[in-house]
């Protein structure tokens, strides 16, 4: 990288000369005109709130006036000692695991079935992609009707099988499995699309060559196609993890974090215990923890998996 972009030191023109060139070729004007809007918006709505929540996190503050009651690390201590926070973190980890071990293999399997460009495949691709297009809140509401033990699909199943009606979302042990099912259903289409795009880029002659060598379909998938789309898998896993850290709008209409806080994720925990209870300081502390987790994942993941993958 270094040897391609920078000219050798002796060829570098003098500073004045460089500045004049930059100033006259219109690039500087472009920067001056195009950069400020984005920069100002980003600063106002991303950087400032980030900094502010980092500040609020050390105060006991209910949102009225300016924070005055400095409590040091108390918000963080309370969070660490709160059983519901532990449940929320555990649930988030469960979502990550299910995304990686169930959702991604499922998406890959379906992608392998429909990646070739035929009219039937296009239809199926669309069908599989529909859940992802749907708004999260709408999807959550629809599934809350599906799981409804009185009128929902589960009620018809129970009647058909002649068993007692069951209420998945009201069951402390089952509710989170229901939530995870909905999450897999909602997002597998997105990962499938990433794989389809990558699979279409795998050189056909490689597959052809393997076939002539006598490789079976599973062997082609295992030794030709998957190695080729490894960068795409790395990207989709990254999205799966970051997405899992942020799950919120599916849960609220489905269970609202209940029963007995068994289906809270880190973000619903933040909302429930920070915002609705008007403990803005505490909520900010949760936000800081979530932000740090997301940044750590992003940085380390990119370092470890995504650099090797890219050519």
């Amino acid at each position: 990288m270094t040897d391609t972009t920078m000219p050798p030191p002796e060829d570098r023109p003098a500073w004045g000369e460089r500045f004049r060139r930059v100033a006259t070729n219109g690039r500087l004007t472009a920067v001056l005109i195009l950069l400020p809007p984005a920069l100002i918006l980003f600063t106002l709505f991303v950087i400032l709130p980030l900094g502010e929540s980092g500040w609020y996190a050390f105060y006991d503050w209910n949102g009225y006036g300016t924070p005055e009651d400095f409590v040091g690390l108390r918000n963080f201590e309370q969070m660490a000692g709160h059983s519901v926070f532990a449940t929320a973190v555990g649930n988030t980890v469960k979502i990550i695991v299910v995304s990686l071990l169930v959702q991604m293999p499922l998406a890959l399997f379906l992608a392998l079935l429909v990646y070739r460009k035929t009219p039937t495949n296009a239809a199926f691709r669309l069908i599989f992609f529909v859940p992802y297009i749907m708004a999260e809140v709408a999807a959550g509401l629809i599934w809350s009707f599906v799981f409804d033990g009185n009128y929902g699909v589960t009620a018809s199943i129970a009647t058909t099988l002649g068993i007692e009606r069951f209420f998945v979302l009201a069951d402390r042990d089952l509710a989170f499995y229901a939530v995870m099912t909905v999450i897999v259903w909602k997002y597998f289409g997105f990962h499938m699309m990433i794989y389809i795009a990558a699979l279409q880029g795998v050189p056909e002659d490689h597959i052809e060559a393997a076939r002539i060598e006598g490789a079976s379909r599973p062997q082609i998938v295992r030794h030709v196609q998957i190695p080729h789309i490894r960068p795409a898998i790395a990207v989709s896993a990254f999205f799966a993890i970051i997405g899992a850290l942020q799950v919120f709008d599916l849960i609220i209409p489905l269970t609202n974090g209940g029963p007995s806080n068994q289906t809270q994720t880190i973000v619903t925990y933040l909302y429930e215990f920070g915002l609705t209870r008007l403990r803005i300081g505490f909520g900010s502390a949760v936000g800081v923890v979530l932000f740090v987790a997301a940044v750590l994942v992003a940085v380390f993941y990119q370092r470890i998996f995504m650099r090797k993958g890219t050519p």
Binding site: N62, G63, Y64, N150, F167, A170, G258, P259, S260, T276
Partner: protein
């Protein structure tokens, strides 16, 4: 360029003038979205006042309940704050008063106007001896009874006096194949009515206020633990509709109106809404409905709680920069004549003394006499204790019903939330 500059100047000037004019004669009022009839009533009041005061512009704005609660703190700190806003009194108003976002109106409300409100209702809008708003209506939480179902199950609800009677009735109904109680467990607050009422009955009228001041072990007081035990005793009978913890308030309200359970612990305000939520849009007729007060405890931890009621005293708070005109409009809106109109139309039970005589609905009449005859009207704990502790009370009530906590642990969690509020 000069044209641009002039336009800009004119624009700024006119905007500035507009803003100044708006400040002088405009009164903005923010309320949680009410029903259509109440909204129509406000439109009439607005017209009547504007006809008498042509220089005043009254503007009513409405937002949905949950959004209102989360937006209000931000709104009060901005320049767009309303002059009058809907309030539940209690801790929330105290927090607003301590942060200096509400206006003291003692000098603006004449003595004769003040005398039209019961003292207990004024107290709900008083913080440290200063008045910050005026009450609008009172609500009471009662057991709504589906008399068809109680008859079918062989239970006489008028004979239920004590909690033990009630448990017995629940068992009888269950044996007869009738769902004894419907509740919206997913929203948690419908279940907090049980815990609150039981705590009042077990610990007497000042159980909550003394816990707030830390007396007798605070919220870990015996009375709160006993309330938890009573609630667990009920939950052990599995009295609720199946899937209660996955049912919202709205759904449960419709279920009761559809005749899917015999008892339903809810505020009097649900009288009209529950019919709207019934699947046929009509629900139970007045003949099929009855009201029952929350049962008493035969051997309570402390005496005196048998006559207490639980409910709300809702009203209007006056924000920091509100004009005197805003307060004048407030007293106009709450005058006896206007509140009688409300009573006549059966919109809610006005708190202004005497206005409830205009009530025509028998259920509202009963609730009005309950409240005026009550030894102590406790405001909903989830409002009274502030947002954070209130939500914890809702949590533990739901957990007690779901058998996810013990009565001792429930009381300790509320105390912990109170310490950390």
């Amino acid at each position: 360029m000069r044209f641009l500059a002039t336009t800009a100047l004119t624009l700024t000037a006119s905007l500035g003038a507009g803003a100044a004019w708006a400040q002088e004669g405009e009164v903005t009022i923010l309320r949680v979205q009410p029903g259509d009839e109440e909204e129509a009533f406000y439109a009439e009041v607005e017209q009547a006042y504007e006809a008498e005061h042509p220089d005043v512009d009254i503007v009513f704005e409405y937002i949905a309940n949950e959004a209102y609660k989360s937006k209000l703190p931000t709104l009060l700190q901005s320049d767009a704050r309303p002059d009058l806003f809907y309030s539940w009194g209690g801790e929330a108003l105290r927090e607003q008063a301590e942060a200096g976002f509400v206006r003291m109106i003692d000098d603006l409300v004449p003595e004769d106007v003040r005398a039209t409100f019961p003292q207990s209702a004024l107290d709900a809008f008083t913080v440290d001896g200063a008045l910050y708003g005026l009450p609008l209506y009172a609500t009471e939480v009662v057991f709504w009874v589906n008399t068809d179902l109680t008859e079918e199950g062989g239970v006489d609800h008028t004979a239920i006096e004590t909690w033990d009677d009630f448990l017995q009735a629940v068992q009888t109904l269950k044996d007869a194949g009738v769902t004894p109680i419907v509740a919206g467990g997913q929203d948690k607050w419908p279940l907090h009515f049980y815990w609150s009422y039981l705590a009042l009955r077990e610990g007497g009228p000042d159980v909550v206020t003394s816990a707030m001041s830390g007396d007798g072990g605070g919220f870990e007081n015996e009375a709160f633990v006993a309330a938890g035990e009573d609630l667990k005793e009920l939950a052990a009978l599995e009295p609720f509709q199946p899937g209660v913890m996955g049912t919202t308030y709205e759904t449960s309200s419709g279920m009761f109106a559809d005749g899917e359970g015999a008892f339903y612990l809810m505020g009097d305000w649900d009288y009209l809404p529950m019919r709207g939520r019934a699947s046929d849009g009509e629900g139970l007729s007045d003949e099929q409905l009855a009201i029952m007060s929350f049962p008493t405890i035969s051997d309570p931890v402390a005496e005196g709680g048998a006559g207490a009621t639980l409910g709300g005293i809702n009203g209007w708070a006056v924000s920091r920069d509100a004009s005197d005109t805003a307060v004048d409009f407030l007293t106009f809106m709450l005058n006896r004549e206007n509140q009688e109109t409300i009573a006549e139309r059966g919109i809610f039970i006005p708190i202004v003394e005497g206005a409830d005589e205009a009530l025509t609905n028998a259920f509202f009449q009963r609730v009005a006499s309950d409240i005026s005859g009550s030894d102590y009207h406790q405001i909903f704990l989830d409002q009274f204790l502030g947002a954070s502790v209130g939500a914890t009370v809702n949590d533990v009530s739901a957990d007690l019903v779901a058998d996810a906590t013990t009565p001792e642990e429930a009381a300790a969690r509320v105390q912990e939330a109170w310490d950390f509020r």
